[in-house]
C-alpha cells in the first residue's frame, strides 16, 4: 500500500456535502427574499410577524440537518441563505449577523447531544424551545413587552408555529429521502427503522 491509499488524517466535509448545502442555502435564500418583503408589508399589521415566522426562516436548515445528518449542515445553510437573499432584499448584508445567530441556533440541539442523536423528538423539542426563545429578540426590539397579554399571545403563536415548521421540515426531508437524494452524504443508518422520520408510508 502506498501513501495514496491512506485516507487524510483530518476528516473534512466532502464536496458533495458542501454543494448539497449550497442548494438548500439557495432554497433558503429564495424563501428569505419572499419573507423579507413580506415582513416589510406585515410590519405595519403585526410586529409578531418575525416571531411567528421564525421557523420558516430556518426551514431549509432543519431540512438539511434531517436529510444530511452531519454537523454544520444547518449552520452552513443558514449562512448561505443569508448571503443569497441579501442582494435582493431591503435589509441587505446587515442580515449576515442575524444569519450567523440563526446558524448557531439551528446547530444547538445537536451540538449539545454531540451530534449523536438525530431523532424527531430532538428536532421538535429543541427547535420549539430555541425558536420561541429567539423570538424574544424581536419582541424586545418592538416594545411589545409593554403589554403582558400581548406577550403571552406572541409567545404562544411563536411556539405553535415553530412546531408546525419542524413538522414540515421533517416531512420534506422524508420525501427528499424517498426521492433518493442525500443518501450518499448522510451518515449510514442501520436498516431497522432508525431514521429520524419514522416509518411513514410511501409518498411522492
Amino acid at each position: 500500500m502506498t501513501s495514496h491509499a491512506v485516507p487524510p488524517t483530518r476528516r473534512r466535509a466532502s464536496t458533495r456535502f458542501l454543494m448539497t448545502c449550497a442548494v438548500l442555502g439557495v432554497a433558503g435564500g429564495l424563501l428569505s427574499i419572499a419573507l423579507n418583503w413580506a415582513s416589510v408589508g406585515f410590519a405595519t399589521v403585526g410586529v409578531v410577524f418575525f416571531g411567528v415566522t421564525i421557523g420558516l426562516w430556518v426551514l431549509p436548515s432543519i431540512i438539511g440537518l434531517a436529510l444530511l445528518q452531519r454537523p454544520g449542515a444547518g449552520a452552513l445553510i443558514a449562512v448561505l441563505a443569508g448571503l443569497v437573499n441579501a442582494p435582493f432584499t431591503p435589509f441587505g448584508y446587515a442580515q449576515i449577523p442575524t444569519a450567523l445567530m440563526m446558524a448557531v441556533l439551528v446547530e444547538l440541539p445537536f451540538l449539545v447531544t454531540l451530534y449523536r442523536v438525530w431523532k424527531p423528538w430532538l428536532f421538535y423539542v429543541g427547535y420549539t424551545v430555541l425558536l420561541t426563545a429567539f423570538s424574544t429578540l424581536w419582541f424586545v426590539a418592538t416594545d411589545i413587552m409593554s403589554s403582558p397579554a400581548l406577550l403571552v399571545a406572541a409567545y404562544a403563536a411563536s411556539a405553535i408555529a415553530s412546531l408546525f415548521f419542524v413538522w414540515l421540515a421533517l416531512l420534506l426531508a422524508k420525501r427528499l429521502r424517498h426521492a433518493g437524494v442525500g443518501r450518499t452524504v448522510a451518515r449510514p443508518v442501520p436498516p431497522v427503522a432508525a431514521s429520524p422520520y419514522g416509518s411513514g408510508g410511501a409518498t411522492s
Binding site: 473534512r12 466535509a13 466532502s14 464536496t15 458533495r16 458542501l18 454543494m19 448539497t20 448545502c21 449550497a22 442548494v23 438548500l24 442555502g25 439557495v26 432554497a27 435564500g29 429564495l30 416589510v40 410590519a43 405595519t44 399589521v45 410586529v47 431540512i63 452552513l76 449562512v79 448561505l80 448571503l83 443569497v84 441579501a86 442582494p87 435582493f88 432584499t89 431591503p90 435589509f91 441587505g92 448584508y93 446587515a94 442580515q95 449576515i96 449577523p97 429578540l137 424586545v140 426590539a141 418592538t142 416594545d143 411589545i144 409593554s146 403589554s147 400581548l150 420534506l172 420525501r175 427528499l176 426521492a179 433518493g180 437524494v181 442525500g182 450518499t184
Partner: protein, 280 residues
C-alpha cells in the same frame, strides 16, 4: 432572468465603480458591515426617538452621497422610508398600552380606549428605530455584491476557501433553480397535473413543485461536486484567486470614523430635555 438580475449574481461580472465621490463602492464589503454594527446593536435597546432620528439622517446623507441610486431605488428610499415611518408610527401607537401614557394629553377616546400623545411618542420612537436599522443595513446592501463579500470573507477573514466557494456556487445555483422550475412545470403540465383553477389549486400546485425542485437541484449539485472533485478542488490548503478584494487604509478610516460618530451620538448627546414617557 433579466439582464440586471443575471449581472447581479454573476460572480465574474465587473465590479461597478462610479468615481471617488460614490465612495461606498470603493470600500471593502466587510467594512460596510463592521462600521454600522455597533450603532445597530445599540439601536435595538435605545428607547428615545432622537438617537435613531440622528442616525437616520446621517445614514441618508451617506447613502445619497456615497451610492449611485437607480431612479427606482432613489424613489423607494426617499418616499418609501418616510411613508413607512408614518404608517409604523401610527400602528405602533395603536399597539401601545394606554395605561403607560395615562399622564399625557388625550387626543381622542373610543369607548374605553384612550389615544394619548404619549402613545404617538412611543410609536414614533419604535418606528424610527426600525426604519433606522433598515437604513443602516442599506448602506452596505445597496453598494455590495454578494460574490465580493464572499471573496473578502475568504481573503480577509480567512474563511476556509472550500466554504467560500460553496457560497460562490450557491450564487450560481440561483438561475439554475429558475431553469429547473420551468422544466418541472412543463413536466407537470404535459401530464395534465393542473389540479383546477383558483388560489387554493394554485397554492397546491406550487407546493407540488417543492420536492421535485429540491431533489433535482440536489442531484445537479451532486454532479457539480463530482466535477469539482475530479478537477482536484480542495487538494491544497491554499489557492490562488482571480479576483482580489483588498482591505485598504480607507476601510479602517471609514470604520473608525463611523464608530467615533456612533459613540458621540450614543454617549455624548444630551437627552435631559426629552419627555419622560413610558419606560424612560
Amino acid at each position: 432572468m433579466t439582464a440586471a438580475t443575471t449581472a447581479m449574481i454573476d460572480p465574474f461580472a465587473v465590479r461597478p465603480d462610479y468615481g471617488p465621490v460614490r465612495f461606498l463602492y470603493r470600500l471593502n464589503p466587510l467594512s460596510k458591515i463592521a462600521a454600522p454594527l455597533p450603532a445597530m446593536i445599540a439601536l435595538i435597546f435605545v428607547r428615545d426617538p432622537l438617537t435613531p432620528a440622528i442616525f437616520l439622517g446621517l445614514t441618508f446623507a451617506l447613502i445619497l452621497i456615497g451610492a449611485k441610486l437607480s431612479r427606482r431605488a432613489a424613489l423607494g428610499i426617499l418616499l418609501g422610508i418616510p411613508a413607512a415611518l408614518i404608517v409604523l408610527t401610527l400602528s405602533f401607537a395603536l399597539w401601545t398600552d394606554p395605561a403607560r401614557t395615562a399622564d399625557t394629553t388625550n387626543l381622542f377616546t373610543i369607548a374605553d380606549y384612550r389615544f394619548n400623545t404619549g402613545a404617538l411618542y412611543i410609536g414614533a420612537s419604535t418606528a424610527l428605530r426600525l426604519t433606522t436599522l433598515a437604513a443602516l443595513a442599506l448602506l452596505g446592501g445597496l453598494t455590495t455584491d454578494g460574490p465580493d463579500l464572499v471573496r473578502s470573507l475568504v481573503q480577509q477573514l480567512r474563511v476556509p476557501y472550500r466554504i467560500g466557494y460553496t457560497a460562490l456556487a450557491a450564487y450560481r445555483f440561483v438561475p439554475r433553480f429558475a431553469h429547473e422550475l420551468e422544466i418541472i412545470r412543463a413536466a407537470h403540465r404535459v401530464r395534465g397535473m393542473a389540479g383546477g383553477r383558483g388560489p387554493i389549486a394554485g397554492l397546491r400546485r406550487y407546493l407540488g413543485y417543492v420536492v421535485p425542485l429540491l431533489a433535482s437541484a440536489i442531484r445537479h449539485a451532486e454532479r457539480v461536486a463530482l466535477s469539482m472533485d475530479s478537477r482536484a478542488f480542495g487538494a491544497h490548503p491554499t489557492r490562488t484567486e482571480r479576483h482580489l478584494v483588498p482591505f485598504r487604509t480607507r476601510d479602517w478610516l471609514f470604520i473608525a470614523a463611523f464608530w467615533i460618530v456612533s459613540a458621540l451620538v450614543l454617549l455624548a448627546l444630551p437627552r435631559d430635555f426629552l419627555p419622560l414617557i413610558g419606560d424612560r
